[in-house]
Amino acid sequence: MTEEAHTGSATGNPVSISGHGRIKIRWFKLLALLVLLLAAVPEGVGAQGPQPLTPPQPMSWANFSPQNWEYVDGGHWLAVWSASNCYNQHYTPGDWQTCGSGYGCISNWTWWLSNPSKLGVPSTWRSVWPGAQTLNNYIATCYFN
């Protein structure tokens, strides 16, 4: 660049660069700014047209164990699954071991909620029976999204 190009003109008019045709510095600055701005925009934001849709996640039924216990209103124990619409509950050490619960065997226990699924577990049986407090000892078929 020449000295003339660096200093510009006192009147504010664009200054010509000798030897490069008729390129104006003001337009060059604008172009540079535009390039910088475009480079800074994250990929995808500036993309045109509809975005390709993410393929739908498979939804399926499978056997799960509950995630945690819930003690409700100072008197009721619930085993809580993170999945929904659970059914076909079992106690993996043997369903017969639940039959002394005072509320029948595990297949008769009440589901309090379907989403998330919460199964009522008889309080005293849960406290007394060895292994009854272990969440992995319970299993049910649930809808997993």
Partner: protein
């Protein structure tokens, strides 16, 4: 006239400073004097097998499209959450809940402490807790009831005894439940022996557990009703 204006400004500023200082002192007092009794304050650490406690938080849940609120304490370390429904506890301004299982004599302790905006709300919640306790009992139960206290002895589905207490003092409400459990014994090896096993279930020490219930209730209430 100008002096009067200065005087009014001075008085307003002085009043604001006084109010601010009073509120700060109140906040400091509240933070240094816990209103609750923690489980450790009731029994030595080695006598507990499992515990969960803390100040309750209001949790918003969307259940089958409806917004529902519960009061809840989450103990992620033991995969346990203590929850209370509004139909039982109403809308307290503050709450503390605890659950622990005791080694010897075997038992379970749960208690919750509630503070309401006014005494009438505490009375309504107290009545609901009384109904809740009655519903938990299987068969016959004993109740000693007054306007501000309710003590009950009931039995669970396996015939084991438990005690419940509801006590109110102004806008504060205490709810305590202690269950007596049997000593851990070998479970039956087959379904055929199950009935016999249930019949033989007896609390490890009913009298000691009842004494524990009474002493614990006194200790929790003394502190909760004593701190303001």
């Amino acid at each position: 006239m100008r002096n009067l204006k200065f005087f009014i400004v001075f008085v307003v500023l002085a009043l604001m400073s006084l109010l601010g200082a009073r509120q700060a002192a109140q906040a400091a007092s509240d933070s240094t004097t816990p209103y609750y009794t923690s489980i450790e304050g009731l029994m030595p650490q080695g006598s507990i097998t499992m515990q969960c406690e803390g100040e309750v938080r209001e949790i918003q849940n969307t259940i089958t499209g409806l917004e529902k609120t519960t009061q809840s304490v989450a103990c992620d370390g033991v995969h346990l959450r203590l929850t209370f429904t509004p139909s039982l506890v109403g809308h307290p301004s503050k709450g503390y809940a605890a659950y622990a299982e005791l080694v010897s004599p075997r038992g379970a302790l749960s208690y919750s402490l509630w503070t309401y905006a006014d005494p009438s709300q505490a009375t309504v919640a107290g009545q609901q807790w009384r109904t809740n306790f009655r519903a938990l009992a299987q068969g016959n139960y004993d109740v000693t009831e007054q306007s501000d206290t309710f003590v009950m002895k009931g039995k669970d589905e396996l015939g084991l005894p438990w005690w419940g207490r509801v006590a109110q003092n102004g806008n504060r409400l205490v709810v305590i439940k202690v269950s007596a459990l049997p000593r851990v014994s070998s479970p039956p090896a087959s379904a055929a022996d199950m009935e016999q096993w249930i019949t033989n279930l007896k609390p490890e020490n009913e009298a000691t557990t009842q004494t524990f219930f009474e002493e614990t209730s006194r200790s929790i209430e003394d502190k909760f009703f004593g701190t303001r």
